[in-house]
C-alpha cells in the first residue's frame, strides 16, 4: 500500500522595487525581516546541517553536472505554522509546512500569499528611504528569467526511481492543461522562433532535459535531487520543479491532488493499460503549452499519437479504478481523495467540451478570457504591451492591484481557514511539533529545519531533537506531551526517557 502522500509547495515570488535601490536580495531581506519583526515577532534561524541538495536520486552524479548552489547565509526564518520563509537566490520564498493532503496544501499555499501581502505592508511601515516593494506570484519576467514553484511529495524508498520517472513524466507533460498559469508570448528558443501569442504555462518553455539534478540551468522534467529531509532508508522526497505557481484554488488543488494520486499508483506498481510513454517528452512539454486548442496530437514512444487530454483521461481512468480497489487512505483527510477524482474528471470534461467554461477554475483560462475581452474592446494585437502588463498584473499580490482578485474564481478554502493556517501548523505531520514548540518556547528554539529542532536550555550544550519521520510529531502523538511539559527542559527529559 502506498504510504501517505505528505506534500508541500515552495514558491519563489517575483519581487520588484519601486523608487530606489532595485537589489532584489536586499529587498527580499527587508520583506522577510519586516514580517519576522513586525508581525511574527520572532526570528528562528534555519539549521543547514543536514542539507544535501547535490545528491542524485539515480545514485550517481553525472559528470559535469554541478550540484545546485545553496546560499546558506541569507535570511531565513521559521514560522509558527511550521513554514519556512526565506531569501532564496534573489527572491522571497515561502515553503509550506508538510501537509497531509492536497486540500491542506492549498490552505497553506494560500497562507503563504497572505504572509507575503503582510510582508509588503509591514515593509511599507518600516522602510523610510521611499522604496516600495511589489510581490508577484508568477514564474517568469517575460525576458527569459524563470523562478520556480516546486512541489514535494513523500515517497516510499522501495519504489525504484526509474519507475517513478517513467510513470510520472506523462503526467507532468499533460497536467499542464489544468496547472498552467498562462503567459503572453514566449521568451526562449523552445519554439524555434515560431510566434506564440499565448501559452498555457509560464514554465514549460524553460525545460530542456528529461531527467536531471539541475534546477536553474537545463531544467529537467523530473528532478533527481535526493534530499529526503527524513530517514533516507525509508523515504524519498520527490522534488517537482515543472509546475507553475497558481492563484486559482482549483488549479493548485488539482496540481497537488492528481500528482499525489499518480505517485501513489506508481508506488503500488499499478499497470496502466495503454503505454503512456512519450516519444520526446521535452518537445511534448512545449507543444502542450502552446496548444490552446488542446487538440494537437503528441507522438508516443510506440509510434501512435495522443492528445494531452487523452493521456489525462487514461491517467484519470486508472486512478479511478485504483481508488475503487485500493481505497484512498494515502490521500489524507476523509473525502479529499474523492474530491480530487471528482474535480479531475469535471475539469477534463470541461476542457474537452469548452475550455473557456473553466474560467472560474483554471488560471490560464481566467487570464486568457480577460486578455481576449480586452483585445476585443481595444482592438489591439497580441504584441500590444498592455496585454503583457495585464499578464503581469494578474499575478500582482497587492490587493488593490491584483487582477486575479477581481475575477470571481471558485474558492475551496475560506478566509478564516487561511488565517488559521498563517499561525497554526497542520495537525497530521511533524510540522505540528515544530510549529507548536516555536509558539510555546520561542526563546528556547534556536534553529529549526525540516527534520530537527535545536533547543537552547541555557545549559551547554545545545540539544538537537531529530524528527526523521514526517508522520511522527503529529498532534495525536505529541499534544499531551507538550501540555504536560512546563518548560523545554521538561519536554526534552520526557522525550529522552
Amino acid at each position: 500500500m502506498s504510504i501517505p502522500k505528505v506534500c508541500g509547495i515552495e514558491t519563489e515570488y517575483g519581487i520588484h522595487v519601486m523608487h530606489g535601490d532595485p537589489n532584489p536580495i536586499a529587498a527580499s531581506s527587508v520583506l522577510i525581516n519586516a514580517y519576522a519583526q513586525e508581525i511574527a515577532r520572532q526570528q528562528v534561524g534555519w539549521d543547514f546541517e543536514d542539507e544535501s541538495p547535490g545528491n542524485d536520486a539515480r545514485g550517481f552524479a553525472l559528470e559535469g553536472s554541478l550540484p545546485p548552489q545553496v546560499e546558506t547565509h541569507l535570511l531565513n526564518t521559521v514560522l509558527t505554522d511550521g513554514a519556512r520563509f526565506y531569501v532564496d537566490h534573489a527572491h522571497p520564498e515561502f515553503s509550506t509546512p508538510e501537509c497531509l493532503d492536497a486540500m491542506e496544501c492549498l490552505r497553506y499555499d494560500r497562507a503563504g500569499e497572505l504572509v507575503l501581502i503582510r510582508s509588503m505592508e509591514a515593509a511599507d511601515r518600516v522602510v523610510t528611504d521611499g522604496r516600495r516593494f511589489v510581490v508577484y506570484k508568477n514564474n517568469s519576467d517575460g525576458k527569459g528569467n524563470s523562478y520556480g514553484c516546486h512541489e514535494n511529495y513523500l515517497m516510499d524508498r522501495a519504489a525504484p526511481f526509474s519507475r517513478i520517472v517513467e510513470g510520472v513524466t506523462p503526467h507532468f507533460v499533460t497536467r499542464q492543461v489544468f496547472t498552467g498559469a498562462g503567459k503572453v508570448g514566449s521568451e526562449t528558443t523552445a519554439f524555434d522562433g515560431e510566434p506564440v501569442d499565448f501559452q498555457l504555462t509560464q514554465r514549460a518553455e524553460f525545460f530542456e532535459e528529461r531527467v536531471g539534478l539541475e534546477t536553474t540551468l537545463k531544467r529537467p522534467i523530473v528532478n533527481t535531487r535526493d534530499e529526503p529531509h527524513a530517514d533516507p532508508h525509508r523515504y524519498r522526497r520527490l522534488h517537482v520543479i515543472v509546475g507553475d505557481a497558481n492563484l486559482a484554488e482549483v488549479a493548485t488543488f488539482l496540481k497537488v491532488g492528481t500528482t499525489a494520486l499518480v505517485l501513489a499508483m506508481i508506488e503500488d506498481d499499478v499497470t496502466i493499460p495503454r503505454s503512456l510513454g512519450l516519444a520526446d517528452p521535452v518537445r511534448a512539454m512545449h507543444e502542450v503549452s502552446r496548444d490552446r486548442t488542446l487538440r494537437r496530437p503528441l507522438l508516443m514512444e510506440d509510434g501512435s499519437t495522443a492528445t494531452a487530454l487523452a493521456v489525462q483521461w487514461e491517467l484519470y481512468t486508472a486512478a479511478r479504478a485504483y481508488a475503487d480497489s485500493n481505497g484512498l487512505a494515502c490521500m489524507g483527510d476523509a473525502g479529499v481523495g474523492e474530491e480530487v477524482l471528482r474535480r479531475w474528471e469535471a475539469v477534463l470534461d470541461g476542457l474537452e467540451g469548452d475550455p473557456m467554461s473553466l474560467a472560474r477554475q483554471l488560471d490560464w483560462v481566467a487570464k486568457l478570457q480577460l486578455l481576449e475581452a480586452y483585445r476585443e474592446r481595444q482592438g489591439c494585437g497580441w504584441d500590444d504591451q498592455r496585454l503583457a502588463a495585464i499578464d503581469l498584473q494578474y499575478h500582482d499580490l497587492r490587493p488593490e492591484r491584483s487582477l486575479f482578485r477581481r475575477l470571481d474564481t471558485e474558492r475551496l478554502v475560506d478566509d478564516a481557514a487561511v488565517e488559521r493556517a498563517v499561525v497554526e501548523p497542520p495537525r497530521g505531520t511533524r510540522a505540528w511539533f515544530r510549529g507548536r514548540c516555536l509558539s510555546k518556547w520561542p526563546a528556547s528554539v534556536v534553529t529549526a529545519n525540516w527534520d530537527s529542532l535545536v533547543f537552547d536550555l541555557g545549559t551547554d550544550p545545545l540539544r538537537r531533537v531529530p524528527m526523521m519521520d514526517p508522520l511522527r510529531g503529529t498532534a495525536d502523538h505529541v499534544d499531551e506531551l507538550l501540555e504536560r511539559s512546563a518548560s523545554p527542559a521538561e519536554l526534552l527529559d520526557r522525550l529522552s526517557s
Binding site: 519563489e12 517575483g14 519581487i15 520588484h16 532584489p24 545546485p68 532564496d88 537566490h89 534573489a90 527572491h91 520564498e93 508577484y136 517568469s140 519576467d141 517575460g142 525576458k143 528569467n145 524563470s146 523562478y147 520556480g148 516546486h150 534546477t215 536553474t216 520543479i241 495503454r274 501512435s304 499519437t305 495522443a306 487523452a310 483521461w313 487514461e314 470534461d349 470541461g350 474537452e352 467540451g353 469548452d354 467554461s357 474560467a359 472560474r360 478570457q369 480577460l370 475581452a373 480586452y374 474592446r377 504591451q385 498592455r386 503583457a388 502588463a389 495585464i390 503581469l392 498584473q393 488593490e400 492591484r401 487582477l403 477581481r406 475575477l407 470571481d408
Partner: protein, 65 residues
C-alpha cells in the same frame, strides 16, 4: 487510439445531459460572468500601472530555484 477516444467520448456523453445545462453561453451564469468581465474592463485602465510599456520593461528578475 481512435477506439479509445471514442470510448472516452461516449463515456462523457452519458454525463453530458447534466454537464451541458451548466455552461451554455447564454445561461444566467454565463451572463453574470460576462457582466463581471465588462465591469473589470471598464475599470482596468485605472488598475493597470500607468505606462504599460515601461512597467513591463522594468520588470526584470534574476533566475531562481
Amino acid at each position: 487510439m481512435a477506439e479509445r477516444e471514442l470510448k472516452r467520448k461516449s463515456g462523457t456523453t452519458d454525463r453530458g445531459a447534466e454537464a451541458v445545462e451548466e455552461v451554455p453561453a447564454g445561461s444566467a451564469k454565463g451572463e453574470k460572468l460576462k457582466a463581471e468581465l465588462d465591469d473589470l474592463l471598464d475599470e482596468i485602465d485605472e488598475v493597470l500601472e500607468d505606462n504599460a510599456e515601461e512597467f513591463v520593461r522594468n520588470y526584470v528578475q534574476k533566475g531562481g530555484e
